[in-house]
């Protein structure tokens, strides 16, 4: 019976020690890899778990992420104050992106209210590009101001009370500053 007990004890110890020892051996050159998945090491630029280069889907998705690019010129109806400005966005993820709601107030220099903006619900398949059409209303004076700034290439606009709903997640941001470069397509 002692032999059985000893054998079972040795078995228990081996079951615990072997995987831990194996893990320590595999990650002996990269101890941080024990707690940090390879995908996040790629994001941090650390390469693969054994020092070799590897690229996970997540790191590829993040590296391929680009801000929405403005398409053409914004359209404005002076009679109604309505505008529309299309943007092209490519989904870098391996899952569909669904934007259910986006709205914000547009403010100019010194937080001067200019109007509002929103987009229609949109679904973009993995790897596909979609047209995000930003629409809203702007006053004529706001248009004049923005047009002058746009021509000079120094568009000074920010968004306030931004509300976004996508993928079941709701985000409310008090203010996003200086999105002029996004609108002009500049850097």
């Amino acid at each position: 019976m002692d032999k059985v007990k000893i054998a079972l004890t040795i078995l228990s110890i081996a079951i615990v020690v072997a995987p831990i020892a194996g893990l320590a051996y595999v990650y002996r050159n990269n101890p941080i890899g024990i707690v940090l998945p390879p995908q996040f090491q790629d994001l941090l630029g650390g390469g693969g778990s054994n020092g070799s280069q590897s690229s996970s889907q997540l790191s590829q998705s993040i590296s391929h992420f680009q801000m929405p690019q403005a398409i053409g010129q914004p359209q404005y109806d002076s009679a109604t104050g309505a505008f529309s400005y299309p943007f092209n966005f490519t989904n870098p993820l391996t899952s569909q992106i669904s934007i259910n709601h986006f709205s914000a107030e547009v403010v100019g220099e010194n937080n001067t209210p200019l109007g509002d903006v929103s987009i229609q619900p949109i679904n973009i398949a993995p790897g596909a590009s979609g047209i995000i059409n930003a629409t809203g209303t702007l006053s004529q004076s706001a248009i004049n101001q923005l047009e002058a700034e746009y021509q000079s290439g120094n568009l000074n606009i920010s968004l306030e009370n931004v509300t976004v709903n996508f993928g079941g997640i709701n985000i409310q941001i008090p203010q996003i500053n200086n999105i002029g470069s996004l609108v002009t397509g500049g850097t």
Partner: protein, 184 residues
């Protein structure tokens, strides 16, 4: 139980519309972010320990079932019946602790059901982020409970029914018995 747990987690947490998914079990734990699946190597090693432990327990329990009246049967049973029960209890306790800690920081994580969790603004630079969070125990978890219960039942069966059937002379020291017989 082990086979089912390899393919289905014991507990699953979904944030948003599959924006983030956490599949948790002592057998296999992985995380999903933006559709990409990943595991933490340390947790993977712990999962492997659990898999090996359950496999050993199953084999030992099988051997015990073939020789329940042998003197070493109790040791075989003692090795195998506790571990599934301890694993299930430990898993539940760990989940409860995580939920309580998250609740302490203002993040509501439901163990079973859905709720809206809001991340404190201090964590998100003033932005308010809220999401539908759904937690659920899967079928494999209930199989695990059933397996642990059966192991406990085996222990009770051995103690109350089988133990009296084991002959006393087989439990006593066989060398002492032989010496007594020689003197007489």
């Amino acid at each position: 139980m082990l086979v089912i747990s390899l393919f289905e987690p014991w507990w699953q947490l979904t944030i948003g519309q599959d924006f983030i998914r956490i599949n948790a079990s002592p057998i296999y734990t992985n995380f999903g972010l933006f559709g990409d699946q990943f595991t933490i190597p340390l947790i993977w090693a712990l999962n492997l320990i659990t898999i090996l432990t359950f496999t050993a327990c199953g084999l030992v329990m099988l051997i015990y079932s073939l020789v329940p009246t042998k003197p070493y049967a109790k040791q075989l049973l003692g090795f195998s019946w506790k571990k599934p029960l301890y694993t299930v209890v430990s898993f539940i306790v760990l989940l409860v602790v995580i939920v309580l800690v998250a609740g302490h920081f203002g993040v509501n994580i439901p163990l079973n059901g859905s709720a809206t969790a809001t991340i404190p603004g201090s964590w998100t630079s003033g932005a308010t982020v809220s999401a539908l969070v759904s937690g659920s125990f899967q079928l494999s978890f209930y199989f695990a409970i059933a397996g642990a219960a059966l192991c406990l039942a085996a222990r009770l069966y051995h103690g109350h029914i089988l133990q009296p059937l084991i002959k006393p002379e087989t439990i006593a020291n066989p060398t002492a018995s032989a010496a007594t017989e020689g003197l007489s």
